[in-house]
């Protein structure tokens, strides 16, 4: 390792892991980022979800900003696929169905499901081991909500 690598730890990326809070927000950001467009409706749903979720209760503005920065860093450097894998590792079994349902809401929030969003949802379903019956219910309900 060269001088600067030794000094700054460059060259070898530090292994990253996500806790439950980071994993939840990471999934939401992944869905929002999937089609490369961030709509007003998605922002409203993201804000609503992060305000409501028990797992994020008590989180201060600085914590929130730190998590977003960490997630955006992973998304930029390691890509969407790796971010989804890390999110799934940070998600506990008791929150899997709920996280998936939140993601469904976000996918349908602008009433338009892009093929890239559909692919990301398929990957999230697979990583979280969501059974077909629950996925179908969550998708149908999110679609019904978006039809109003």
């Amino acid at each position: 390792m060269g001088l600067f690598s030794n000094m700054f730890g460059g060259g070898q990326a530090k292994p990253v892991s996500f806790n439950r809070q980071e994993a939840f927000m990471g999934f939401l950001l992944a869905v929002i980022a999937a089609d490369g467009v961030i709509t007003n409706e998605e922002i409203l749903d993201f804000y609503s979800a992060t305000n409501k979720a028990q797992v994020l209760q008590g989180l201060g503005q600085n914590d929130f900003k730190r998590i977003i920065d960490k997630l955006m860093g992973v998304l930029k450097k390691q890509g969407l696929g790796e971010m989804l894998t890390l999110c799934s590792l940070g998600t506990t079994p008791d929150m899997k169905n709920g996280v998936f349902a939140y993601c469904c809401d976000l996918v349908f929030s602008d009433n338009n499901v892009d093929p890239n969003e559909a692919k990301v949802m398929d990957r999230i379903k697979q990583l979280l081991n969501i059974d077909d019956a629950f996925a179908e219910k969550a998708g149908r309900i999110a679609r019904a909500k978006a039809s109003v």
Binding site: F24, N40, E41, L44, D45, Y47, S48, N51, K52, A53, Q54, V55, D94, M95, N97, G98, V99, F100, A101, Y102, S109, N111, F134, K137, A138, R140, I141, A144, K145, A146, S147, V148
Partner: protein
Amino acid sequence: MSFMDSILSGGGRPDVFNRQEGYCGMLLAIIAADGHFSQEEIIDFHSAIKKATILKGASADYIRKMIDKCLRTLDTKGMDELIRLSAEGLTPDVYEGVFATACDMVFSDGSVDAKEIAVMDKIKAALKINDQFARDCAEVFKAKSAV
């Protein structure tokens, strides 16, 4: 009042709700059910109103008047009448979506009050929601509230 507002306003008749007022009325009914407006419910209400396709193009003034009309109905005629007028204003194509949004709101503060359950039962009956869809909604929103 703008052209869009006049189209959307249901003619301003106090005893008739249009689709927009029907949607707003159902959401306000569920928020008001337990006599307490939580922060989560207000955020959800704001998000639902801002996002709704049936409210696209509605001005802030129109939305304020719509909320006033629904709350006045609740104050003067009561919950049952608010739900009845709201259901009459809605069209069948949005029944399930309105029910699902109301159901999501019930779970939004993480607790479901007995009064909220009673109001949800009335909304379910007024919108002719089948038992399976209602059960599916409860399962999905319960899962969300566990996050």
